[in-house]
């Protein structure tokens, strides 16, 4: 076949695929309305516990009292001190990168204030882009300070310590802010991985795959033709979820839309490659549906940090979560939407997704054979 004929064949394939999608009104309606329904449904948060909170201290003038307080934090296994910096300004990049979740700002002359009985102002800064863990971490930190205060020798009634809490990035503590990024991941997984797997295995069940294989179409044309319309649908879903979140819940969007859509495309491609692979190793629509449910939807919901923070999963599941694409994608979406993070901050996650895409594409094209078996 000449190149022109190949392109024409590809265009015919995409048209045909778009007709399948447009004519299956029920499925299409569900797919288009799902992000909306999900955003509303997942308005509720699930309270969770946290461990190993990454902790930073701002202590411009250390004295006996401030060192004693720091020792208290070091002594609990909930907090892991990752940084001690001299100024509040130095915290900014730590928070932005997600290196630090809670920071304690100790004022100058804490010991003197305690001795003199003048009010001392301790400030707690919590990264609350995840509202569940945000509140929990804040409570834990407050408890540590109270214990430290109770254990001070010769406590005087005049001393007042006011832990001030400032929430960062998600000041209203709206749980929906947390869920929208997770939902985008979930919807993209469904549309890209599951729908592609089902649609490919439908061709197998109908027997049309046999004709497509006997035709001069190359496997890449079949895959590309299958995937392109679903990519478009995935795009529509991301936009719907964002608009719904913004209109209904006032979820902020602080970062770059272009970056988010680019990352979504990357993630959708990962899902599509996964879908092609699932369809290649299953024989029926039902098996493909079950396979994609177990292989993509469950991990994307449970092991991605969408509902349960990764930090509170058992260690083996934490390790496992690293190979779940949604885990990395959700970090990107939260970073872009809630923190306004850019490529500089998210390059690691983007790199992981790109690597996953390369591996999955290799596996998918290998498993999608030019023959039946």
């Amino acid at each position: 076949m000449r190149v022109r004929d190949r392109l024409q064949a590809l265009r015919a394939f995409v048209t045909k695929e778009a007709r399948h999608i447009l004519r299956d009104r029920q499925t299409l309606t569900i797919l288009l309305l799902m992000p909306l329904a999900q955003v509303v449904l997942f308005g509720f948060a699930i309270r969770t516990d946290v461990n190993e909170i990454r902790f930073a201290v701002v202590d411009p003038a250390p004295d006996a009292a401030s060192l004693g307080l720091r020792a208290r934090f070091a002594g609990t296994d909930r907090f892991r001190t990752v940084a001690t910096v001299p100024t509040v300004a130095a915290l900014e990049p730590l928070f932005r990168r997600g290196d630090v979740e809670v920071a304690l700002v100790v004022p100058r002359g804490l010991g003197d204030a305690l001795r003199d009985g003048t009010p001392a102002r301790l400030q707690l800064i919590t990264d609350a882009s995840n509202p569940n863990t945000g509140t929990t971490m804040q409570t834990y930190a407050g408890a540590v300070i109270q214990q430290w205060q109770a254990g001070l020798p010769g406590t005087r009634g005049a001393v007042r310590i006011e832990p001030q809490v400032r929430m960062r990035f998600n000041p209203t503590l709206e749980s929906v802010n947390l869920f929208v990024p997770g939902l985008i991941a979930l919807v993209l997984t469904l549309v890209s991985a599951q729908m592609t797997a089902i649609s490919l295995s439908r061709e197998k069940e109908r027997g049309t795959m046999e004709i497509l294989l006997v035709s001069p179409l190359h496997p890449w044309q079949i895959i590309l033709g299958k995937v392109a319309p679903y990519l478009l649908l995935a795009f529509a879903n991301v936009v719907t979820a964002l608009v719904a979140a913004w209109l209904v819940f006032d979820v902020p969007f602080r970062g770059s839309l272009v970056l988010l859509l680019a990352a979504s495309t990357l993630y959708a491609l990962v899902g599509l490659a996964l879908g092609v692979f699932i369809a290649a190793v299953t024989d029926s629509q039902r098996a493909a549906m079950t396979g994609s449910m177990l292989g993509t939807m469950l991990p994307s919901t449970l092991l991605s940090g969408m509902i349960f923070p990764i930090a509170s999963l058992p260690l083996p599941l934490q390790v496992l979560s690293n190979i779940v694409p949604a885990r990395w994608f959700i970090v990107i979406v939260r970073g872009v939407m809630l923190k306004g993070a850019g490529v500089v901050h998210l390059w690691q996650e983007l790199a992981v997704l790109t690597l996953m895409l390369v591996v999955l594409l290799a596996v998918a094209t290998r498993s999608f054979k030019a023959r039946l078996a």
Binding site: R6, A12, K16, G207, T208, E210, V214, S215, P216
Partner: protein, 326 residues
């Protein structure tokens, strides 16, 4: 019953000049199941060649190997002079294939299906129109109807049109008339006759013996083996015994009675008659008929009728299957 007479074996494989299909010693297994075993045959240019046999005979596997969808474990196969394993892409654009199942898109219209398959094969509906016109014209009034809403016969015609639209040099049809009414089946075979007359080579499989008779040559297949290859009439005449059609009621009692007859070689139900083969090949036919009627009358069946008949392809097939099983 007496010892079975042996049915004449096939002549050695002769490959005609420019044979579009040549298969030698093909073998394919799926786990413990042997789908094809030592299958060899050649199809002549412009021939309407039938693969005949019950389900599980290996016909679909054979089609899938010939259309490059499966790779054989042993043996070789060439289609249009190209090896099915080595020259995958050389074969794919030149064959037309209609798989066994209904293999069109039910949610696309008749015309959309046709245009899609034309594009996939790098051509257009207009370019292939004159070839498919005799078939397509019959369904063209319904070109905007969704393929899923067509009757069985119209679906087959659409599938055939889709398989032909890119002007293939050879056509593979896997049980094209399964699940289609009798009238549509006959129409479909008339279309195949027309295509053959235009010079197209056609390999078609069918479980129906009446359809097998419309092929120029057939290969009888069972459990992955070819039992015989010949023209349908020639296969019938290979039947080694005198054959009689017997009518009578009650049918079950008649079968019992005939099987109990001392010279019975085989008794097979064929529609509403029975085919009785006599073990004595030189006994006069009149005498056999008289003896048979006397015998069944003695067993309480008064209304019976018998006459000698020429064996058909199905008689030979059943006898061959019996031999293969023995």
């Amino acid at each position: 019953m007496s010892a079975p007479a042996v049915i004449a074996p096939d002549a050695p494989l002769v490959v005609p000049d420019g044979a579009p299909v040549v298969v030698r010693g093909l073998r394919k297994t799926f786990g413990a199941t042997v789908a094809l075993d030592a299958v060899s045959f050649a199809v002549a240019p412009g021939e309407l060649f039938g693969l005949v046999g019950p389900d599980g005979g290996g016909k679909t596997t054979l089609f899938r190997i010939l259309t490059t969808l499966l790779v054989p474990e042993a043996g070789t196969a060439t289609v249009l002079g190209r090896d099915v394993v080595q020259d995958l892409w050389g074969i794919r654009s030149r064959v037309g294939y209609m798989p066994g199942r209904f293999s069109l898109y039910p949610d696309l219209s008749v015309e959309e299906n046709l245009r899609f398959f034309a594009s996939v094969f790098g051509t257009t509906l207009a370019a292939g129109y004159d070839l498919i016109a005799p078939i397509y014209r019959q369904i063209e009034p319904f070109k905007d109807r969704r393929a899923g809403a067509l009757s069985g016969g119209m679906k087959q015609k659409l599938a055939l049109s889709c398989a032909l639209v890119h002007r293939p040099e050879i056509l593979f049809l896997d049980e094209p008339t399964t699940g289609v009414d009798a009238v549509s089946r006959r129409e479909f075979w008339d279309l195949l006759d027309e295509l053959r007359r235009s010079g197209l080579t056609i390999v078609v499989s069918t479980p129906y013996m009446d359809e097998a008779a419309r092929c120029q040559r057939v290969a009888l297949m069972q459990k992955g083996r070819v039992l015989a290859i010949d023209a349908p009439d020639a296969i019938g005449s290979r039947y080694p015994r005198p054959l009689f059609a017997v009518h009578g009621l009650p049918r079950h009692a008649l079968i019992e009675a005939l099987r109990a007859f001392p010279h019975a070689a085989s008794v097979q139900p064929f529609g509403d008659t029975l085919h009785y083969a006599d073990a004595r090949s030189t006994h006069p036919a009149d005498a056999v008929v008289a003896e048979l009627l006397a015998w069944v009358r003695g067993r309480g069946i008064t209304e019976a009728w018998a006459a000698p008949i020429a064996p058909g392809i199905e008689d030979t097939f059943i006898a061959l299957m019996g031999e293969a099983a023995a």
